[in-house]
Symmetry: C2
Subunit: 413 residues, 2 copies
Amino acid sequence: MNDAPISPLAPSRFPNALPVPGVEFAVAASGLRYRGRDDLLVCRFCEGAEAAQLLTRSKTPGAPVLFSRAAQAASGGRIRALMVNAGNANALTGPAGEAAADSLAEALAARISCSTDEIRLAATGVIGMPFDPAPVLATLNRLEYASGGWPRAARAIMTTDTFPTGASELAKIDGEPVVITGIAKGSGMIRPDMATMLAFVFTNARLPADVLDTLLRSAADRSFHAITVDGDTSTSDMLLMVATGEAARHAPIERADDPRLDEFRMRLERLMIDLAQQVVRDGEGAQKFVAVTVTGARDEAAARRVAFTIAESPLVKTAIAGGDPNWGRIMAAAGRSGAVGDDFARWRLSIGGVPVVEGGGPRPDYREEEAARHMAGREIAIRLDLGEGAGEATVWTCDLTKRYIEINADYRS
Amino acid sequence: MNDAPISPLAPSRFPNALPVPGVEFAVAASGLRYRGRDDLLVCRFCEGAEAAQLLTRSKTPGAPVLFSRAAQAASGGRIRALMVNAGNANALTGPAGEAAADSLAEALAARISCSTDEIRLAATGVIGMPFDPAPVLATLNRLEYASGGWPRAARAIMTTDTFPTGASELAKIDGEPVVITGIAKGSGMIRPDMATMLAFVFTNARLPADVLDTLLRSAADRSFHAITVDGDTSTSDMLLMVATGEAARHAPIERADDPRLDEFRMRLERLMIDLAQQVVRDGEGAQKFVAVTVTGARDEAAARRVAFTIAESPLVKTAIAGGDPNWGRIMAAAGRSGAVGDDFARWRLSIGGVPVVEGGGPRPDYREEEAARHMAGREIAIRLDLGEGAGEATVWTCDLTKRYIEINADYRS
């Protein structure tokens, strides 16, 4: 299915992803939907592991989302295993889909000898296709767990993604080293109203679920909540963070604002920004990576809204695809965002560091060749200052190309 | 510039558009931006003509929009002429652009011997390009006015449109016949937050500006405010209605809710729906015309929001382009609309009259071939009932094809 060329924005190689004490995983080809490729990832966690999660805000969530939401609440954040299927999202599948999800969780819980509440499920792929759990259940018998092999794990959860996405960081808590490793997948339906696509972040720090929850939400605001590909939100988005506590020598942490977490917080945020940006770099059909920064907005929410309106404008995104520094479309998108004042003569727009607009029109010294040179590249930077306040936000996105249409017009056929 | 093939959704011919007493117009090739085609339309109205208008809500409006807003306020709705340029929107052109707009209005007012407040200006085309009024001013000397030739008038205001858009109706007020004729142009940047693209509606009814204003807003809500192509809103959108009063034999009308206007109101609405749907049929790259109807929403605003979210979802629009009855994407779009309740098991979705979803998943008797047969056609009907209330809305849109990308990635080059 995924014979697409690798995104030109892909990193040169999968990063050196560290094993996380307390995390083992197994990968298999269940044949659920794809043939001849891995499509199942099961992660096993040591006793005592805790989890936090962000799930799609969609009102039509998939069965795995419903299951995981209930499991998190019932377990108080305890977790022993995660199962991820690729190819069939088990969403909009009615009561049969929910029963299928339950059967997966029950089978896995029985093998691991834990409660079903300690299982989390995720799935990605086609929506509304009947989900037959049989091939997955049959596969559970032959799983072989290991603590390494992150690239294979990241590949197993891909759908239309063109490269596996991973990142790893070392941090210190209280002077003691801990590992953070994460994997993710996109690559359409990326608009984080809440959580977004699938991303799994693992650490061997020993952190209670409520602390994890605060850390995860804060880092998500600056990473997965700041990206967009097409403005669509999936039925199946999940961002899960697991802390195993295995081999963690730091003293107990009880509060998310504990200053001993400062470095960990920074490394976690960096890792999640890395994963989120990779997801954008693998946006369907993406040929260019775009950072839209809005400053001088009346507040941060307004800055985000303006930045998202620019980043999601089909006219802006197609102009970028064409290498056209069409600053008029950028201004027009901001103008219709609903989050700006009347006096656009105060706005200053630059493209790739080239000052373009000031005083309500192009600067007298603006030379289009300079902006066009920047737009010909792979990494596009758009900055708009509104001159209204102190609100700032950056949103990352990609261009909108014919390949996006090809992928999405033909996805099921 | 516009060598694109005519939209397959185009009407077979330009309608039989009636002359409107009190309206004369002239068309010319000014050479402002295009070569070898008409790009200037000037309409002259008899003394006593009155106007109402809806303008873009964009906070970066073009100079013609700023001019027309001020002129409408200063004149109390009196109007003697309208000038429309195609090719250069005179938007985001700073003080020089505003001065250029003023110079056009002054020259036209001098020729017609009216106040500049009785002029309205509109423009469409590239944003942010310096607007040199000289070629247009030079053309004013050689205009030849006539009361017929609507297809040529409609062609003169086209940009990436592939066919000229017009409609005409006869109505009776108080037993006396009046004419309504309108022209419009799209064809990207179609998302009516307020007015949308350019549409000009003329009648020889004798109606004061405040009555016109009420009629226009009401009809716009059911026509131009119910269409979307790409979710973008232009800097230059204008919907203008002019009532000349010439040869109108009906008794004076002072209130928009006068029952003697019932037939006129209905005909006006029908004409504006016709124009609006033609705009969608000429949406950039459109291959299919789509009607999205949402019923059972908690109120009309919620129904509109759900319908617009479906109609603007890139994943829904690309699936339609591919002829794929991908109902999961439709449900998922509704699910993220922010205007639906939690119980999607109550929703009923049909595609082309084929019942598809019920009880949270596909109906047991759903056969995809039936929906696929409908999706293979040119006219797509999507109906979603939410079972929550009495809110209803229909939104018209088109599919999203590779041609949209081509047009917009290359528009300026």
